[in-house]
């Protein structure tokens, strides 16, 4: 039952998609049928999986780095009104810059290697993590904050023994939004300067109008995302057993 339903949902969508391609006679060039996509995948399964692993690795490293940077940043923002007022708007502004547009600059500075892709991932991921962590920590019930105050707890204690724990469920919401964005960030990084990864596959197939291949790559992206997402959900269940998720 637990696994049957998602599979059912998937089948429903694939069925609809297939039906649509047949009924509306959609050009395979525009939207290939599921069969075309599977055929495309089966032509190069090993290669595609290899590319998927590369993208996965970029996404996961960037995501990890985003947590490492984002959570302390949120701590700083919650800890100091001045920092919040000064740098929150900048963070918002940074997030509003279309990553596709600055990808070239990132590649020029960080080269064609993995670092430019990881940086793209971080740029995409950091905002949801910071904002959800900060807002979760701010919403700590006042009675608990008073308890810590009454114990004359240090800032560090207040953050690490209270606010961060309280924020965990909300942090996970931010992480879940971020993880799917992470995959996109890696792909955008690969669009600009890479010779491997699913983003590269999509660019190449775009250049040769091989839409089925592009769809196969995107299906792999979707699978990666869903896997990462439910991985996170699992970690959440283990880590936040007191919250009714």
């Amino acid at each position: 039952m637990r696994t049957a339903l998602p599979v059912l949902g998937l089948l429903a969508i694939i069925g609809l998609w297939w039906l649509a391609t047949i009924v509306f006679g959609i050009e395979p060039l525009l939207v290939p049928s599921p069969a075309d996509v599977v055929a495309s995948f089966l032509e190069l399964p090993g290669y595609l999986l290899e590319q998927a692993l590369i993208t996965l690795w970029e996404a996961v490293s960037g995501f990890g780095l985003s947590i490492v940077i984002g959570v302390p940043l949120a701590l700083l923002i919650v800890g100091s009104r001045v920092l919040e007022r000064m740098f929150y708007p900048l963070l918002v502004a940074l997030n509003a810059v279309p990553k596709v547009a600055i990808a070239p600059i990132v590649v020029v500075w960080f080269g064609f290697g993995i670092s430019s892709k990881v940086l793209m991932v971080v740029l995409v991921c950091i905002f949801p993590i910071v904002i959800s962590t900060a807002s979760g920590m701010k919403s700590t019930p006042s009675e608990l904050v008073e308890l810590f105050r009454s114990l004359d707890a240090t800032r560090t204690h207040e953050f690490f023994k209270l606010r961060l724990w309280h924020a965990l469920p909300q942090i996970f919401v931010g992480l879940k939004v971020s993880i799917t964005l992470a995959v996109i960030g890696a792909v955008i990084g690969e669009f600009v300067g890479a010779d491997a990864g699913l983003g590269y596959v999509i660019t190449v197939s775009g250049g040769s109008a091989d839409t089925s291949l592009a769809f196969a790559a995107m299906a792999l992206l979707a699978i990666i995302s869903v896997a990462l997402f439910y991985g996170l959900t699992w970690v959440e269940r283990k880590l936040v057993p007191w919250a009714e998720v």
């Binding site: 050009e27 395979p28 060039l29 590649v107 020029v108 660019t203 040769s208 109008a209």
Partner: protein
């Protein structure tokens, strides 16, 4: 709206090849000079985003006409059986080129060996490189292509991340402007592979079949604009700027000036826009040879409407 007395104007959608640069400005010239009005056409111009996107939009009927790279059109039609057809060749010679900066050790095709060239995967420049290399007598395997997105190319070149980039010949003024004083070295494919067409005016097969008159009328008016442009390049910049304020008029005029010999080469006696079956066959042969398409997958008439092309 059409002036009183004329027959009601017909609405037509048109996609440029990429953006609204000088090389695509002739459509605005045709509009500005009233060529479309005279032909009873009301043309909506939308900036395109590259050959494949244009082909998709045209084959899906979102746009009636578009401009796409001739080679890309051939390859895409061969592989994907896209229902598009070429009406005219905008440039008689390919604009594709490798562009480098002076002082980077590239001044002739032979210098390319052992260098890094940035280009978009699947671009004409990359696909046709083996053919070009063969003509130049160099080993294509010794040139490393670094895949990269088009907007990033000038920056990568200027920053020295790559030694050369795939570009159109007309991009020279832009690159030089970007590289701050450094001169650009341009190695046009057309010098060594003169048979390749540049961009092509495409439409969907349905459209050409159902409205051959309209297709002809539009093509004629557009080519009139093209011809006017290459004859009066200085006028083109200001006209473009009028429609697209972000464009630099001088750069646009310079582009058109550079493009002129490709639209109408000195040794070319045919009409502007003409396509001949002989040359198309040759190109298809070259593509097969370069491994871009399988042998026998494409006949010239599959993707060119010789019947409608300019005579």
């Amino acid at each position: 709206a059409a002036p009183a007395g004329q027959k009601a104007s017909q609405k037509v959608n048109y996609l440029t090849s990429f953006g609204t640069f000088g090389r695509d400005a002739y459509v605005y010239v045709a509009k500005e000079k009233g060529f479309f009005d005279e032909a009873g056409l009301d043309v909506t111009i939308t900036p395109g985003t590259g050959s494949v996107d244009v082909l998709k939009l045209v084959s899906a009927g979102r746009a009636d006409f578009g401009v796409a790279d001739f080679t890309a059109t051939a390859i895409t039609t061969a592989k994907e059986k896209m229902p598009v057809t070429v009406l005219a060749a905008i440039q008689q010679r390919s604009l594709a080129a490798i562009v480098a900066l002076e002082g980077n050790g590239i001044s002739k095709p032979a210098d390319l060996e052992g260098k890094k060239i940035g280009d978009q995967p699947g671009s004409t420049n990359q696909v046709m490189f083996p053919v070009y290399a063969k003509a130049a007598g160099i080993d294509p395997a010794k040139v490393q292509f670094v895949p990269s997105a088009p907007p990033a190319l000038p920056q990568l070149l200027a920053a020295g991340q790559v030694d050369g980039i795939g570009q159109f010949v007309v991009g020279k003024p832009l690159i030089e402007a970007a590289a701050k004083g450094k001169k650009a070295v341009v190695l046009p494919y057309g010098d060594l592979v003169p048979d390749l067409y540049g961009n092509a005016l495409v439409s969907s097969k349905d459209f050409v079949q159902n409205k051959p008159e309209l297709a002809r009328t539009f093509m004629t008016a557009l080519l009139k604009g093209l011809e006017y442009s290459i004859e009066h390049p200085d006028e083109v910049g200001p006209i473009l700027k009028k429609y697209q304020p972000t464009q630099d008029a001088d750069v646009a005029s310079a582009e058109v000036g550079l493009m002129a010999p490709y639209v109408k080469p000195s040794d070319y006696s045919g009409r502007v826009g003409g396509v001949t079956e002989a040359r198309v066959s040759k190109i298809v042969g070259t593509l097969v040879e370069a491994g871009a398409i399988p042998a026998g997958s494409l006949a010239p008439t599959d993707f060119v409407s010789f019947g409608s092309s300019p005579k």
